[in-house]
Structure formats: C-alpha cells, structure tokens
Symmetry: none
Subunit: 348 residues, 2 copies
Amino acid sequence: MNSRKLKILAAVVDEYIRTGEPVGSKAISKLDNINVSAATIRNDMAALEQLGYLEQPHTSAGRIPTFSGYRLYIDELMNPSALSDEEKSRLDRMLGGKDTPEELLIQNAATALTEITQCAAVVTNSVPRFSVISKVEVIPTGKRLYVILLITSNGSIKNKACRLEFDLNHEQLEFFTHYIEENLSGVSVEELSEEMFDKMVAAVSAYMVSLSPLVMGLCELSEDLRQQELTVSGSEKLLSCDELDKMEVVKFIEHKNGLSDLLEETFSGIQVKFGSETNSFAIGNSSLIVSKYRKGNKEAGSLGIIGPMRVDYKKIIPYIEYLTQKISYLMSGDDEDIIITGTTADTD
Amino acid sequence: MNSRKLKILAAVVDEYIRTGEPVGSKAISKLDNINVSAATIRNDMAALEQLGYLEQPHTSAGRIPTFSGYRLYIDELMNPSALSDEEKSRLDRMLGGKDTPEELLIQNAATALTEITQCAAVVTNSVPRFSVISKVEVIPTGKRLYVILLITSNGSIKNKACRLEFDLNHEQLEFFTHYIEENLSGVSVEELSEEMFDKMVAAVSAYMVSLSPLVMGLCELSEDLRQQELTVSGSEKLLSCDELDKMEVVKFIEHKNGLSDLLEETFSGIQVKFGSETNSFAIGNSSLIVSKYRKGNKEAGSLGIIGPMRVDYKKIIPYIEYLTQKISYLMSGDDEDIIITGTTADTD
DNA sequence: ATTTAGCACTCAAAGAGTTAGAGTGCTAAA
DNA sequence: TTTAGCACTCTAACTCTTTGAGTGCTAAAT
C-alpha cells in the first residue's frame, strides 16, 4: 500500500462524489495531480479493489468506493476545504447573534445546513437537561383542578393540568407547595428520576393521600424536560436524492426512532456514520454527519446532516464544524444571563 | 345528458375508485346494474368526455374521471353507504364517552379516521376561542424574569417568559396582578383584541412604565389562544399512496401552512376540496374532505381527512358526518363541567 | 330512433435483437 | 516498474416487433 495508491483512492472518491458515475482509469489519469498512465492506474485500482476499498458495479464499468473506501477517505485522505471569510459571515448571519434564543439558534443552524448542503438537517437539544429547576408552582384553576408549572434556569417552562379527588384547602396547598419547592428547587433536571418522585409520592401521601396525582404530574413534566429534543428538517431533500431508496427514506421520515439514541451515544468531534451500518437508522446508501455542540463544559446537543453517502464531505464537514463551534461559543456566553426559549420567546 | 349517462358516469367513478385503473366500456357493461351493451356505453362515454367529465390517459385506454367528473359524482351521483350499527358503535367506542376531555375527543376522532380510512386525518380545535379567561398569573422566576400564565375555562394553558427592564417589588407585582385579574378574568377569548391590550398598556404604564412588556406578553398569549389549533395525524399514510407525489407530500408534512386558513373559511356540512384546485395546500392528486363540528351553537372546529383524489367517498363521508355529529353532541353536553386535557399544554 | 355487433385502428407496454463505447485485464515491450 | 496495445466484457441505448386492451365508426337489428 504505497502513497500513490492512496492518492489514486482519494482521486477516485473525489471524482465519484463529483460525478456520481463509476470512475475509470482514464478519467483519473487526466487529473492534474496524477502523472502516471491509465494502465498503471488500472493496476493500482485492481489492487485497491483487492484490498476492499473499491468495487466495480459490473465487469466493464469504472470503480466506486466501498464503505471502507469512504471510511479511509474521510479519516485520512480527504483534505477539507477551509471556509472562506464570506462563507463564515454568511453562516454568522444565518445563525443570529449573541442575543438569539438558544432554541432559535439551533433551528437556524438546521435551516442553514439544509439550504447549503441540500440534505436533511438533524439537530438535537439537550440544554434543558443541564439546567436546574428554578421554580415550581401549583395553581388552583377550577374545582378540583390544579395547574402545575415547572420552570428551569434556562427558561424552559412546562405545565400540566391535574384533577384531584378532593379540593385542597389553603393550608394543604401551602404544605404541598412548600414541600415541593424544598425538594425540587435548585435540583438539576438530570438528577431527577422516577424513584425520586416515587419517594415524594410516599412522603406527601402520608400527609394527604390525594396529593399524589400532583407529584405524578410533576414526574411527567420532568420526563419531558429530560428528553432530548430531536428535529429533522428538510427531509424532503432526501426524496429527491436518487441514490437513496425512497421507501426507506419514507420509513425513516415516519418514525425517526432510534436516531435520538444513536446521536446520544456519539463522541465529540465530527462523526460520520453510514446508514447501512447502523440498525437504528437504516437508509441504504445514506450517511450521517454530526458533531456535538457544547454549552459551557457540557455537551448540549448534536447538529448535522443526513445525506447520500456520496455527499461532499470535504465541503460539508467544515460547515458543520464551524456551526458547532460558533453555537458552543454563543451558548456559553454568560451562564447567568438566562436566555429564554418560551413559546413565543421575545428577548428584547 | 340523460339519466343513463349519469349512471354510467357514476359507475366509471366507482370502478376507478375501486381499481385505480382506467375503466373501459367492457368492464362497465359487465356490472349488475348496467344493462346495455359495451357499444352503447362507448357512445355515452364519448359524450361524457365531450362534456368534460371523463378523460383518457391515451387514445386506447379506458376513461378516468376529471375534476368535474369527481365533483358531479360527489355532489349528485354517489350514494353514500349508511353506517351499520356495528360501525357506529365502533366509532363510539373509539371516541370515548361523555366524560372524555374535548381535546382527547378530537384526537380520538383523528386516530379513528386514520385507522379506518388509511388516510391522513386533519382536525382543528377552536374551542379555546369560545372559552373565557379563568386565571391570569405572573410568576417571578429570575432576575427581571417573569412567567405569565393564561388559563381559560376550557383548560387551555398558555405561558410565556418575559424579561423586564427592572425588577418588580412585591407591591408592584400585586398591583399588576390585581389590575390584570380585574380586567381579564371572565372575559371571553374571542373578545380579546389588540386594541384592548393597547389600552391596558397605557393604563399600567401610567403606574409603572416598565410593566408594559408583561401586557404585550399577555397579548401574544391571547393571540395564541384565538388561533385555532391544527393537527394533522397519520400523514405517513400519504407517503405510501402512489398517486400522490412524495415530494409534495413531504413538503406538506413539514409546513402545513395555509391549511388552517383554508379550513376556517369552509362552510358547515361536508366539504370536498381538491389539492390541485387550492393554492394553500397543493398536493397534486389529493382530496380534502372535512366537516365542521359544533360546541353548543358555535362552530368549534373541523375534522376530516386528506387522501388521494381516488378515495372511497361513499364510505368515508358517512364516517366523517357521523363523527362530527357525535362530537358536536358530546361537546354540547354541559358547559360548566370543565374538563382538562391530560398532557403538557405548550411550551416547546 | 336507439341500440348493438363487428371490425379496423391506435397506442402503450413488454420483449428481442443489435450496436456502441467505456472500461477492463493481460501481455509484451520500454 | 511502467506503459502501450489489444482482445474481451458488459451495460445502456436504440430499434423492431408483438400483444392486447380499448376505441370509434358503420351497418344491421330492434
């Protein structure tokens, strides 16, 4: 495995990504940075095929990269094109400035990615998980009817209405609110668990049995908060992409289950996964490129694209890297200045 | 245009809906209720084509209905199959009884429709619009940060975080809450208007100028309440339907803009709109079948399906009619027993 | 005056046969 | 070790043909 073979492999992948057609020895030999004859390239390509990096759709066709071919290309061979200043400032404009709410930030990133890459964008948001409960309220709103409210330090608000068996008098409400406030206030969302709420149910039931629905309600709200939000946008782009099986794409769009878990178990830095290799998101010839962004020193979510395996990695990866860095930077500004992400959040 | 021609038109549409293939004169002549020869039918079909009710994909193929063909069929020709008692009680079971929360009711209707028709179901809910404000709360949750909460008599909850220029002391908060409670409590959502809030801004500003963001926030929340909720469920069914353009379907699923307005401007009674005829929801060969349900004497929302133009109108329309009637009946039971929806309202 | 049988005609879809050319592997010379 | 030359392979594109469902028209039957 000499360096010329690697160079040829890189060239084949580049050409294949560019044209979408199997690439032959002649096409490679014409490239500027290749100075050997087609025959030599043929020999090397045969060797690369032997090694499992290339394959032929049929005997008399050119070569296309295999999974390992792509893998080697992505990990070692390609050289990503740095973003120009215009591109950077375009992205900056699309993202929004320091005072953009977090949620809008990642939504903008998704829009930018769809537009630029013409692929589906995926973003997740686990920010609420790393915040702490800043306020719990129970508000009576009708006969035996109570609204519970859970507010976190990052500005997420969840509410839920609960119906009780009996109405609470002032003292009971006071007791409950106090108890809950004491036990939840300042607790990080991450720490909340079903067991914790089970204990609380036991505790309040000792005082008054019919309070437990309220605790159960709080438990559900906290589950909502812990769940990372996954959004796939621009998925129509995948349908117009003919190297992907429409059937599989449709199935993926319908229930993107598993993708969330997959995204959670990835490491930091750019990750590339091929659809056919994972069982959680099984679109045949697809490729998932994601990177995590951080808020402060915690991983706060992922951001990337799903496209055909034949996407322009060289071009796209720098975009994703830049976006995650920028978002991490924007999010980690000052932690106390809470950015609001309510329904129609309005920060001015 | 004699009655035999109409009968033949009806038969052609029925057959086309059944088989999905262009239907020829021979197929029609074999039907039980048709007692003329294929030649006669051919003549009539040529006439129907002349009149614009049928068309041929190509010269030597059978006929398929045109838009006007479908229109005439739906308005005059088809005879809807009455629901059997089993079907009715099946729907009753799926809907839930008198004590089912309103929101769950229409959600159940949507589920039932998707399941039975194998199409996407659309439902809207304007009930909150006809309810009254039952509670307004302002809750301090951080420095200069306040969550405002608007709760209506039907159990809808809207919240929003607002940031103020200055922090409020106890007295100021008290004043504001009191003022708002006084002015909004018991007011019907329908009556709320921007002018009303403008006046309130003026009033509270006289007391303390920096309170106005809170009023503006309330104004936005009230707009949210006035807006009818639109839910499309089971939209994946549209993707597995090959007479619809997948591309258009996915675009529709992602941003169902315009549909809400379209649904609002429909009249009472069953309505059928073809996707290609409206510009608000433009899925090529699709058909929207909806009907409005009432709460008391007010139109409280719509309910129906989106499917291929070639749906079984005969079968589906009675279902939709039954559901809207039943829901109208269930909702108009007793107005005072307020029922609350189980899940988190909104926050996102 | 309708309706019907008969028949020639049309056209899309499917299959068979042919060709063109891009690409290969191998061999032998440089 | 590299390269030129050459025979070989296989798909994609094209043409030609066949098939069959369905038509419109005409002339006979009701």
